[in-house]
Each structure stands twice: as C-alpha cells, then as structure tokens.
Symmetry: C2
Amino acid sequence: VSSPSAASVPADRLGERFFAEIREQPEALHRLLEHEAEYGEIARSIADRRPSLIRLVGHGSSDNAATYGVYALGLMPHMTAVRDSISLTVYYEAELDFSASVVIALSQSGRTPDVVEYVRRAQELGAFTVAVTNETGAELGEAADVALPLAAGPENAVAATKTYLNQLAALALLAGGIAGRGAEIADDLRHTADLISTSLSRLEAEARPIATSFAYVGRMYAIGRGLEFATAREVALKLKETCRIAAEPLTATDLAHGPVAALDSLFPVWTIASNDESLPAVIEGASRVRSAGATVVASGSAADEIGAAQHVLTVPEAPSPLLAPLLSVVPGQLFAGALAQAKGLDPDRPEGLSKVTIAR
Amino acid sequence: VSSPSAASVPADRLGERFFAEIREQPEALHRLLEHEAEYGEIARSIADRRPSLIRLVGHGSSDNAATYGVYALGLMPHMTAVRDSISLTVYYEAELDFSASVVIALSQSGRTPDVVEYVRRAQELGAFTVAVTNETGAELGEAADVALPLAAGPENAVAATKTYLNQLAALALLAGGIAGRGAEIADDLRHTADLISTSLSRLEAEARPIATSFAYVGRMYAIGRGLEFATAREVALKLKETCRIAAEPLTATDLAHGPVAALDSLFPVWTIASNDESLPAVIEGASRVRSAGATVVASGSAADEIGAAQHVLTVPEAPSPLLAPLLSVVPGQLFAGALAQAKGLDPDRPEGLSKVTIAR
C-alpha cells in the first residue's frame, strides 16, 4: 500500500485508515467470537497437558498483548505464564526444557522471522505450540502444532489497533477455556464489544481537545499496573509510532524507583486506572507525578478516582476486571490518532515502518 | 543523608558520591567474592530441588539485574528463569503453584515493601526463597528461607551502581554454581574486577567529551539484545534518574517494531554491543537508527563493529560472554554522571527520589 506524504494529505484525512480500524474494533471482536468453538477446543487440549509453564512470544503490539496474557492466564488457578526470551532460544540456542511447556506465539502477519524460528525450535524441544495470527496460512501457522485465527480482517494501518484488541480477546478466551470458563468469557467479550461500540464517539470527542493541547509534547510516560500494564505498553507504543513522542511505559510502582526524577511540567503522564486490586498503586503513582509538576491524563473505568488528574477519559466498566484492558486501550488509541493530526503527522504513514516487520 | 541543592555545589563536585561508588566497583566485587562458599552452598541446594522455574523479583535497578538473571540462569542447561509478576501474587492473590519454584528476590535495602510481601506469600505457597541484599538483617532477609549478602558496602548515592554490579555477579555465581561451574565463574569474576579497574580512568576520560556534546539532549533510547538487554535497561534508568532524560530501553529488535518511527537528529541512541550471538541484531538495529538520522553511541567490547556509530566506548573483552554485562554497564554509568554534570544537575540528588523507595 503506498501513501502520499503527510504534507499532501488534507488535515482531516490524516490517519483515515488508523481511525477506520479503531472504529471497526467491535465488529472485529465479533468476528473473532465466531471462532469460539475452535478456541475452546485448543484451550481444552492445553489444559489436558497440565503445562508447568505457558510461554508467550511476540514483538511490538503482539508483545504488549503477551503482557496481558501473563495476567489473564496467571489469574486462572495454578497457571503460570511468562513472556519468554526469544533470544535465548533463537540466538543462544540455550538447552531449555520445553517438555512441560505450551507456547502461544502472537504475530499479526504470521511472518515475524524470529517468532517463527522460536516456534520451530520450541516444538523440536517438545513444546506444544499454538500460533494466534491473522494469517493462519503463513509461516508461523505452518510451523506451529495448531493455528488459531485472530479474524481481525485485513489490517491496513501500520500501527496495529484491531489486531491488538483481538489478541487480548484471544488470550482471554484461551485463559477462560483452560479454566473451564470459556462460555462465560465469550459472553463477556460480546458485551465488551457493545460497550466499546457505544462509547467510541464520545471518547473521540473527548480525546481531541486534550490532544490539541499536547501538540508540542515530546516526552511522556504511560503508567498502569497488573492487567493494565499491557495497556500502558500499548498506548506508549502508539504514541511513539504515530506521534513521534518518546513515550515509555512503566508500572506505577517502577515510576517511583527512579523514572519520576525525569518529570517536569513539559513531561506529561498517561495513567490507566481500572477498578481492581492494583488501583491504589496507580493512584499513588499519579500523585507522585503531580508532585513532580507534571500533567496527568487519567483513562480507564476508574479514571475519576485519580485525584491528581487534569484530564479524564472514562470508559465503561467491563463485564469483568479481566476484560478491562480491552476498553482501557481505546482512549489511548483515539488520543494518539488525534495528537498525530494535531502535530501534522499522518498516523497511516509512520517514519521508517512498514506493515510487516522483518527485522531480526 | 542530606544534600545541598545542585546550584550551591561546585560543578566539579556534582555527583561526588555517584562517581566514588562507580570507581569502587572492582573492590565491591572482590568483597562479594569473599562469600563464594555461601553462594556455592545455596546454588547446590537450589540445584538439588530441580526447580521447574526460577522466579526473579525486584524493582528499579534490582529488576534490571533480574533481566540479566533470566539470561544468566537460562543459559545453564535445562533451566528457565523469569522476572515474575509481583502484582499477581501481592495484589491479585492469584492461586499460583509455587511448589516447584525457587524465588530469588533482589533488593539493595532489603526493605522494598511489595518484594518482601511477594516473598512471604511465595514461601507460604511452597517456594524455596532466597534473598540477595546488602542488608541481610532487614525484612526481606527475615522473610526468606535464606539471605545472601551482596556485600557492596553502604551505598550513599541514590542512583545504584556498585549494588547493580554486585547483583549481576551474585546471579552469575548462582547460575554457575547450579550448573557445577561455580569456581570457574568466581575466577572469571575476579578477572573481570581487574579489567574494570584498569579501564575506568580511560573510559571516564573518553565519556566526558561525548557527554558534553549531549548537554541539551532530552530523549534517548538504549538498545541491547540478549544478555545485554539488562545493560540497556540499567543505562536508560541512570539517564532518567541522574540526567532527567526520557531514556527508554528497547531490544534491538523491538526498536524496528514501532519505536524507530520517533527518532530524529535530536533523539540519539545508546547501543550496547558485545561479542556474542546477538551482535548481528544489534548491528542491524544501529543501522536503522542511523537511517532515521539519529546519532549512535556504541559501547561494549564489540563497539567497533557498530559501523553506524559516531561515538565509540570500547570495554575490554570479558573472560566469558556471560560476564560481558558487568563491563558493558560501566561506560553508561560514567556517561550518565558526566552528562548530569554537563547539564548542571547533581547525580547525588535526583528530583523526588530517596535511597530507600517505599512505594507500593
């Protein structure tokens, strides 16, 4: 797909594809749910193996989704999931014991070279390997024992949105299925799709004026904790990709262990606050940010509880805390798109990126 | 410890404590090695348990050391180590199965609240827990099954240096001991201490003029891969803490999956290049950085091989690739100190930080 340069695109058409795919997310989620039975079947075969470890791998947005998977799977009884090191297996050829491991490999294109290579070696070393991808027929799906469809549909924007959302849903479905709660989670996901659908226009209207006031911002942190750390990572990535902001994700707690020292009034912080057990840590982190003189934007279902916030973007409460990150990421996506426009950048045309990344 | 404000400190005395502790590192390393036998004993008792998983926890620099531990332990046959989620256990009270796990908890002070709490719960749930800390008598040491001394000696600078180095050495000793190679690693560590000692003055002299030219930099990435990703994390943290730079660590590969889009000529990248299997990925990442118009600083034993670099800080080759990160971090520490001075900041007095972080 070739694009004209940002300068030649009328301001109101910058990021057309990016916004179209953000708005398409409820529909994309429903498309994934048509595959509920397949997900249930694979979840049962994972559960039957009683893995001692579930190893998640991916790069970019897919790695952010893997962060969510660590929590979604870890919240199910007796399950430990980790974002595995790709380089130990692919570069160092470490003699890892994969015999009691299940691998879940995430890639939009199914062609990320070192994710494909990781899956090949993990399988040789005894892992049961599951690919979750938009392109089940590509190399990753071929290499894995089974391939599950993300069903997000063709993603034309370089910066992923609907793929990320469907990856979260896919991991929630697998986690739920493994714990024998697949049908419940699928119903909750359908409800979540509707909640996103009904709040999109309002959130876009609310995010735009905040973005305008951020037009000259060059540095940000995004903070979250627990389930919402994945959201912090994903929002920070969208800001780097589409707005050229040096936006680093941090847990609300790690913020206090050094990074808070860099903050000032020109260095705002995006905060993700949901109603769960990690909320007090996020409230405390946000108040440190304010003490440092930095602006706080609060997003999420508990955004109102961030007393330190100058800007608030509240999303509906998810049907269950597990699914909160699917709603919490939406204001960040919309803000990134609007801020790119305010900066005169085209979110559909980030510098130096292409849709399929073949970097090793 | 109270400090005068940066403005009242003569420029050549800014960061006195920080520099003193960087220079003390070889000596601190030798102090740790006096405890070789204790480390060997605990390593054997870890090996005897044949853990299916080693879970590392810490915040800030200790978490960066944990990143090193993932690789140092993962490179030993049949061992999987991960940086574990603290919030799953401490906030969400997830029903994790710790019965086949060993926990290694890292904390300079031995008083980081949620690390202490994590260890208490992990132990109740069946883990064998090892504290590695400068203060073995503090809460963390009390809570854990065993406490190993870091022996770095009192750390007065807020930004950790010698503690981080000794944490890497402690993890290398444990990894080596588990694999029956403890004596070999201990000898290599003694040799490493000497290599640091003989290169410190040269590196300080070389880092200073580069730092001067970075006086107005506000955004950086630090990239590494594999064993050196820990170094990228630690250098980025020093730059945030002491220089107030928005410095994000990235793997050389993740750089290409989005973040490269934010780079420009005012957004330089610190690169860590060591002679190991991950070097080609780092060389490729650095060349992407140059294509984006950004300045590259190359550090590490293979810094010369980064063709894209405008600045090169070469360290001696470590006795074994496993120990390269102990040498590679030193130029980053010295650069951060010199850059803070060039910015008129006092590295001994970062904004909003204190030596012991009690944030939850």
